[in-house]
């Protein structure tokens, strides 16, 4: 991405900043006890959790920073934070 002098960009530029590489642990959905309460989707500070089916959510790992709030707040503990090692 080429940057101009003041790093002034066209709107929507944050899509280029794939913040997923800031992550240490990633949320993994067990897709087991989910009640479809939507808490994880609503409290995600990055807005990268999305609903796939009525009781099935997932996360866009290109942008998830791995903060773990979704796993902490899930009322039925259906999300695990898993260490990522490469």
């Amino acid at each position: 991405m080429s940057l101009n002098h003041g790093a002034i960009l066209k709107a929507g530029s944050s899509i280029n900043n794939k913040t997923g590489n800031w992550r240490n642990t990633k949320p993994v959905y067990k897709h087991d006890k989910c009640t479809g309460c939507t808490t994880c989707e609503r409290i995600c500070p990055e807005g990268v959790i999305y609903q796939e089916e009525k009781k099935k959510f997932n996360v866009d790992l290109d942008y998830c920073k791995g903060c773990g709030i979704c796993a902490e707040e899930c009322p039925v503990k259906d999300i695990d934070m898993v260490s990522e090692e490469k």
């Binding site: 940057l3 002098h5 790093a7 002034i8 709107a11 944050s14 900043n17």
Partner: protein, 398 residues
Amino acid sequence: MKKYIEGSMAVAEAVTLCKPNVISAYPITPQTHIVEDLSQMYADGVFKGQFVNVESEFSAASVCLGASVTGARAYTATTSQGLLLMSEVLFNIAGMRLPIVLTCANRAISAPINIWTDHSDAMALRDSGFIQLYAENNQEAADLHYQAYKIAEDKSVRLPVMVNMDGFTLTHSFEPIDMPTQEEVDAFLPSYKPEHYLDVKHPMSFGSMVGEDGYMEVRHYLEEAMNNAMPVIEKVSKEFQQKFGRNYGIFIDTYKMEDAETVIVAMGSVIGTIKDSIDLMRKNGIKVGLMKVRTFRPFPKKAIADCLKNIKNVIVIDRASSVGAGGILAGEIRAAFYGNTTVPHVNSYIVGLGGRDITIKTITDIVGGFANVKVQDSQFVELDKKYMQFGEDYLKTV
């Protein structure tokens, strides 16, 4: 037309002639009269832009930043603690390449609290990316504002400019000032036409996050812009001289440099006192001259090294100190000679902090006491022993 007015009024009128769209400032001594005069002109309908009242300098700078990204010409003024409170925003203004003009009525920084003049405030912001120009008198202070906008808004520069004028010594003193007409200023300073600005029809993002992949390149552009400012400052100064007939030097100015063996280097209102001191010393056969630094950022290394290359002794008068490193101007003057084969003796003197009077005697004593030896540390001049007993006694106990 010449008017007998206060320095602050001259600046306020000069700013109004530059037709900024937005002014936002918070009053602080000794800048207060500038803002007071501008708000009076706003109330009287003389200044036709927006005057935004705010609750702090941080907000004043933020309003100017916001105004500037919408494509407005913006102006603010402050000093000392106010400048420090603005500082986070000022770095952003420079980084976003917004051509805002700020008048700094130079004043000391707390503690101890002190409202009188020195250059500590502007020097603390020397690495911010602001172009810094220093006025010698009120005519120059007023004239620098017309030039400041033209330099700031040049497409190869696009940097904010800080116009520095010594608090009280300049801001509160009355002098006959030649004020140009609106037509003359309009012919010199065209209206501001930015390439990028916030517009709902064409959304842009200012101050975007740039990671380790591009930050360094954008900061490099900033350095480049400062270098680009050099020829622009030269061009604008020359055009100003052509149109208005006044010339203050471009990056530096000199006084009685022919045959000078010792040269005094300084910035700001002390220049007048130094010129008088030089006249006096020359009557007594002392070959002394003056180099005034008018443009401090970008720092005119080449102009300075060329000007001083054949000089034996250089005396740098600093009205600020980098605590732990000494005179700031002196350090940069010394660095300007790096790589040269002949280097003058550069001695550094800290004078006039917190409004301490710098008299002709101060200057002649410094020149008279100048030993022909290289002294690396900066020397504080005219320290008053009667204030130092407690401090010295305490040091004996530790």
